[in-house]
């Protein structure tokens, strides 16, 4: 077991040892004097800690506050301090400074790094910055700065390592961070260390580690397991590897699962999507997890693997209760298969939160209908998040819809039934009453927004 971990920070190779593998990258940077990277929240929500990394998935912006050191072995890490070359500001720094993009300046290194990383993905526009909060500027000068075109230099001075960015194991005392390179390896580690926790993007695990203090002595990373990172198109549908990140899905789905792709755009923000995985979102089994309703509406199936073999369950059978699933200890989500629809379907997905971007859902809904030529509903899947202990389908109303004409009256009647179907809780994201209203209203919105489509 490796007792040290190698990273490159702002171009210099560094061997770290004796620092717990669950120490967050941000804490390591700051403790080692690289204080240009700031902490605003330590839970992935503000972006002040954004750094650019190059690891298995190319250059990306990540929230260093929730990335454990163990997860960045052999990564190249660039921080705001590292961008200046020969005393000259990087173009994104120059643009931000000139536009008045910094007031107190505390958020600024994070914005700089989000903009810097976006150069590599070629992504443009506000989407790059939705995960960076600024309390001072109102964002207008930052948006202006983001518009000034810039691209990585031809001979990139920032990412220079020629080493393959293969994650390596790292241990300190009895704390281990394993980075297996095969599915079998991962499963064996899990069976060898019964208390071990799988970690994929760590966007849930990292937040938890910060919130409760250190807890998991053994983490098994799935980030480098090739079998979990495939995207395969078969006759039956699209099989999505569990450890694919949401950014990868955005880039690779290419319009094949529109519902999912729409939801991905309003899922957290770029830094989170760069790390968060599909399987992680399902395994966490949050009642407000956003991908479950979408995948329920798609009729997705989940493939679970363990040393004992594999099995496939319908996603609608996957969740068993509040934050519980059918997963057994030692079992991993290998993939999620989205079946190919036999006929075109009428679909839409909605997410309502207190804030338009980067918010957890109050209610999320995904609808998928199949209509016969005469506008009779022949199949229906209506799924919701935020209205019950688990993501759920509105089975009774689906039944009600089948055989009925897709008219305003049907939609209104279905909406009425939907409003009475669940008994959601009141919490700080919304009252039970509001949630019940949304369950029905979103369906009516669906009809309203898509009725023209059908009539045509």
């Amino acid at each position: 077991m490796a007792q040290s971990l190698r990273v490159w920070i702002n171009g210099s190779e560094e061997r770290i040892s004796g620092v717990a593998p669950t120490t967050m990258l941000l804490d390591y940077l700051r403790a080692s004097g690289r204080v240009g990277t700031k902490e605003g929240c330590a839970e992935g929500d503000c972006g002040a800690c954004t750094v650019a990394v190059r690891g298995e998935r190319g250059v990306q912006a990540v929230n260093s506050c929730i990335v454990p050191l163990g997860a960045v072995s052999n990564y190249e890490i660039v921080t705001a301090e590292g961008l200046v070359r020969n005393g000259v500001l990087h173009p994104v720094q120059e643009a931000l400074a000139r536009a008045g993009g910094s007031q107190c300046g505390y958020c600024t290194p994070g914005f700089v790094m989000s903009l810097f990383a976006a150069q590599y993905s070629g992504e443009r526009g506000d989407g790059v910055l939705e995960g960076n909060l600024c309390r001072c500027t109102g964002y207008l000068p930052i948006r202006e700065a983001a518009r000034s075109p810039s691209a990585p230099a031809a001979d990139d001075p920032y990412f220079t390592s020629t080493q393959p960015a293969e994650a390596a194991d790292y241990s300190v005392g009895d704390e281990h961070f394993f980075s297996p390179r095969s599915l079998k390896g991962a499963l064996e580690l899990l069976s060898l260390h019964p208390g071990a926790k799988p970690i994929a993007g760590g966007t849930d695990v990292g937040v938890e580690l910060n919130k409760v203090g250190r807890r998991n002595a053994v983490l098994v990373s799935l980030a480098g397991v090739p079998e979990l990172r495939r995207l395969t198109e078969t006759a039956a549908g699209l099989e999505l590897g569990g450890a694919l990140t949401l950014s990868e899905l955005e880039a690779r789905l290419g319009g094949r699962v529109p519902l999912l792709e729409t939801m991905l755009r309003s899922f957290a923000a770029r830094q989170i999507r760069n790390r968060a995985t599909l399987a992680g979102n399902l395994a966490t089994a949050s009642p407000v997890g956003d991908l479950a309703p979408v995948l329920l509406a798609c009729g997705a199936r989940v493939k679970l693997v363990s040393l004992g073999g594999e099995r496939t369950v319908a996603l609608s059978d996957f969740f068993t209760g509040y934050r519980t699933t059918v997963q057994r200890p030692g079992e991993l989500i290998a993939s999620v298969t989205v079946p190919k629809p036999d006929a075109p379907r009428l679909e839409a997905v909605y997410k309502v939160g207190k804030r338009g971007a980067d918010d957890i859902s109050t209610v999320a809904a995904a609808f998928s209908l199949e209509l016969k030529a005469d506008k009779i509903v022949t199949s229906a899947r209506l799924a919701y998040g935020g209205v019950a202990a688990t993501p759920v389908r509105a089975l009774e109303v689906e039944q009600f819809l089948i055989g009925r004409p897709w008219t305003e009256r049907t939609a209104a009647e279905a909406a009425g039934r939907l409003r009475g179907l669940f008994t959601p809780l009141s919490d700080l994201r919304g009252s039970a009453e509001y949630r019940r209203a949304l369950v029905g209203n979103l369906f009516e919105k669906f009809f309203y927004e898509h009725s023209a489509e059908v009539a045509a």
């Binding site: 004097g33 204080v35 990277t37 700031k38 605003g40 929240c41 839970e43 929500d45 503000c46 002040a48 921080t79 705001a80 301090e81 500001l89 720094q93 120059e94 931000l96 400074a97 008045g100 910094s102 007031q103 107190c104 300046g105 505390y106 958020c107 600024t108 290194p109 700089v112 506000d126 910055l129 939705e130 960076n132 909060l133 309390r135 001072c136 500027t137 109102g138 964002y139 207008l140 000068p141 930052i142 948006r143 919130k211 203090g213 909605y350 309502v352 939160g353 207190k354 804030r355 338009g356 971007a357 980067d358 957890i360 700080l428 509001y434 209203a437 209203n441 979103l442 009516e444 309203y448």
Partner: protein
């Protein structure tokens, strides 16, 4: 002259590189300790037992701090005596810190904290304004302001309406949380570096808690990663804890709040509840207003009383109310002590005022913008005099209003909105314009003073000290511009030294939008003193007899009437040294002619008023209640701006922050008094996606203000209240969902999607408003 130029923030290059140092970025001292709080699980309880010994068994834990460790006064309130720093007998709010663990690392301190045993006897807490009123739990006697005969005028009014409104709090969510470092010096003194808007008060509280004279305590503020009022009074407790810990252990100590601690331990904007009655004419002219305000002050008084005063001073916003009675009372509840937040009660006062304006307009079926304009302060004398007797000398309401209506194409767009609404049953747009008139000066008259200390070194470089702190508002930038302009020396020759109590003593907080006004005058006065001395030296060098004819500009001193007679500033400086002329000077400023009589509620509390107006357009989704801000136009009176780039930044940032408060930032406490919106995952401030592309800010042209530094005006707080236009635009959109023009649109605050949907549903199924005159 650099004053008036749109220069970037003086630290912009350091900000973008991550090299700008904040308190917690300083190099760690050897042996420095970290602190972790032990938080009470009750909103109100008696402490019946305390055992900290188990914490000391944790490796790395060095010491603990509790009430027994306070050698001086166990109070962090700056002499009000109502804010226990380390509770001995009672817990006053949920998650109050009872004990702090000091350890070699955060992790060890945290582990230790979990082992401290405290037993409590829970008591019944008071958790809302309603409960406080019912139980008579207040911090002080009511404050009132009265003009004319509200009673009589109300009875005579053609129309009368009454109502009530609750407006919630707001977390500052400065990106940098509270932090203080304390370093004990061998002579027994202590040096504090603190993220504080008020180094002098922080120094005073620390000295008081330690029981030492103030000269034993130096407080430095390097810069803050945002403050917004949240670090005016609230920094002191953490500085005091760091100092106590340093004193107890003899080691340097850092007290840095994690976000989750900052959000539960520190005060927020005051929630307000109030009820009103308004009497008005058929044209919508206000006749009489009676307004009763109650704020939720939390467990200690902190700044709640002056916050309430400012709410009362701004209950008129921009409108002449011939007969007005407004009273305010601060409720004492078992919550964190609420505090200053950009606007300092002004926004809350104005929310009520604009609520009333909207009620009046809708009740009469008149356009709200027409009713607003009709009621503006106007002319001279009585109709241009506020309810506290201050005559408005240079009324610019008409100008900002006219300009913003024009810049926004208001009339044309109102028609467009109506057309859009007619064609869209499930989405509606709304367009609204609101004004702001904001009084500038500390309410507490003596606080309107400032000091500076300017040091010229022999190489001609200049060190600038003043009492103001930098929190992102660009004060340091503006002060450099003032100093450079006043001394006629290029900006590059200056350095601002960190604000510190051993340079300029007894300063006021950097607050009330007055930082540049007050410190700017103090800096200029110091520069003028130096210039006068140097002019004497330069005159001798040039063989001139009239030093007053000399001009200082661009590092050169020359004769006004014969510019070829010139000498370099640096040569004058060297000569001054040789001639034994002092090269440093203090500057001092007090705002003239301010007075206010609290007994009569009359006076002239403000040096001047800042004006602005904003037009917002929104689109509301009738299925979900979500809204999107489509366009904003702002005209702000920043006087002859010291720095238009900085000022535009203040306006945009203030507006967006105000919009957050009014539409998405919800502060919620549960039934046990726990603050539940305690993390950014559940407390949402605006992101870039909430700010429209179409956002236009114009500074009112030809607006130099007499008697203020270089004709500039305060711009820190006033723009926040321009966001009221967003709320009113939402209300307009909501009204468009009604089958017929509604006589009333109730919209709860913050106007979250849930609140908006409730409002939409209410107007869709209208209940009849009582007939006028009922």
């Amino acid at each position: 002259m650099s004053a008036g130029k749109p220069l970037p923030h003086e630290s912009a290059a350091a900000h973008v590189q991550g090299t700008a140092r904040y308190t917690d970025d300083q190099p760690r001292f050897a042996g420095m300790l970290s602190a972790w709080p032990v938080l009470a699980p009750y909103a109100h309880a008696r402490i019946t037992g305390l055992d900290t010994a188990p914490a000391l068994t944790v490796p790395g834990v060095v010491s603990v701090l509790d009430y027994r460790d306070v050698p001086g006064e166990n109070d962090s309130s700056a002499h009000k005596g109502d804010e226990t720093l380390l509770p001995e007998t009672h817990v006053m709010f949920h998650k109050q810190a009872v004990v702090w663990i000091l350890a070699e690392s955060d992790a060890a301190a945290r582990t230790g904290a979990a082992l401290v045993q405290i037993s409590y006897e829970p008591l019944t807490p008071i958790l809302s304004v309603e409960e406080a009123i019912a139980r008579g739990s207040f911090h002080a006697a009511p404050q009132t302001l009265t003009r004319g005969d509200p009673e009589g005028a109300m009875n005579e009014a053609a129309y009368r309406l009454s109502g009530e409104l609750f407006v919630g709090g707001q977390d500052h969510f400065y990106l940098e949380t509270h932090v203080s470092w304390a370093v004990p010096e061998p002579d027994g003194s202590v040096h504090i570096t603190s993220s504080t808007q008020h180094p002098s008060e922080t120094q005073g509280v620390v000295a008081n808690v330690l029981g030492v004279p103030a000269h034993q305590v130096t407080v430095t503020c390097l810069r803050m990663g945002g403050a917004f009022g949240g670090k005016e009074s609230q920094a002191a407790p953490y500085a005091a804890l760091a100092a106590l810990a340093a004193r107890k252990t003899g080691r340097p100590v850092r007290v840095r709040l994690r976000r989750e601690h900052d959000m539960v331990l520190t005060g927020k904007r005051h929630p307000f509840w109030g009820c009103y009655e308004v009497g008005f004419s058929s044209e919508g002219l206000l006749g009489a207003v009676r307004l009763e305000l109650y704020s939720d002050g939390g467990f200690s008084s902190d700044l709640s009383m002056p916050v309430m005063s400012r709410a009362l001073f701004h209950a008129d916003n921009a409108y002449f109310v011939p007969h007005l009675h407004v009273s305010g009372r601060v409720c004492k509840t078992h919550k964190v002590s609420q505090t200053a937040f950009r606007g300092f009660g002004g926004p809350q006062g104005m929310v009520f005022c604009e609520e009333i304006m909207d009620r009046v307009a809708r009740h009469l079926g008149l356009a709200p913008e027409g009713v607003r304009a009709r009621n503006f302060y106007r002319g001279n004398g009585e109709t241009a005099t506020t309810h506290y007797g201050q005559e408005i000398i240079d009324n610019r309401l008409g100008r900002v209003w006219h300009d913003v209506l024009k810049a926004s194409d208001f009339a044309e767009r109102k028609a467009d909105v109506a057309a859009f609404n007619a064609g869209h049953p499930h989405t509606k747009r709304g367009l609204a314009v609101t004004p702001v008139k904001f009084g500038v000066s500390f309410n507490n008259t003596p606080m309107n003073q400032a000091g500076a200390l300017v040091l010229i070194y022999l190489d001609g470089s200049v060190g600038l000290n003043h009492g103001g702190t930098e929190m992102g508002q660009g004060l340091y930038t503006k002060m450099l511009q003032v100093a450079s302009s006043a001394l006629g020396v290029p900006l590059a020759q200056f350095r601002t030294l960190p604000t510190a109590t051993d340079k300029v003593p007894n300063t006021s907080p950097t607050a009330a939008s007055s930082g540049a006004d007050l410190n700017g005058q103090a800096v200029r006065s110091a520069c003028e003193t130096l210039k006068a001395r140097l002019a004497g030296v330069a005159a001798k060098l040039l063989g001139l007899s009239a030093p007053e004819d000399l001009v200082f500009e661009g590092g050169v001193v020359y004769c006004r009437f014969q510019p070829s007679l010139r000498v370099l500033f640096i040569d004058v400086v060297r000569q001054a040294y040789l001639a034994q002329v002092p090269l440093f000077a203090t500057g001092f400023y007090r705002t003239p002619n301010l007075h206010f009589n609290a007994e009569t509620g009359k006076g002239r509390p403000f040096h001047y008023f800042a004006y602005g107006a904003a037009v917002s357009e929104v689109e509301v989704d009738g299925f979900t209640g979500e809204f999107r801000l489509r366009r904003v136009d702002i005209v702000e009176d920043a006087g002859a701006s010291l720095n238009p780039l900085v000022d535009k930044g203040q306006i945009e940032g203030g507006f967006v922050q105000g919009m957050g408060w009014l539409t998405m930032e919800e502060t919620l406490w549960d039934a046990s008094g726990r603050f539940v919106t305690n993390a950014p995952s559940v407390y949402k401030i605006p992101t870039i996606a909430d700010v429209p592309e179409d956002f236009n800010v114009t500074l009112l042209p030809r607006a130099a203000q007499e008697g203020v530094i270089y004709g500039s005006k305060a711009v820190g707080e006033p723009p926040l209240m321009l966001a009221l236009s967003v709320r009113e635009a939402i209300r307009e959109a909501v009204s468009a969902f009604a089958p017929e023009v509604p006589r009333r649109v109730e919209l709860a605050l913050p106007a979250t999607p849930e609140a908006i949907l409730r409002a939409v549903d209410a107007v869709r199924t209208p209940t009849r408003e009582p007939v006028p005159g009922d």
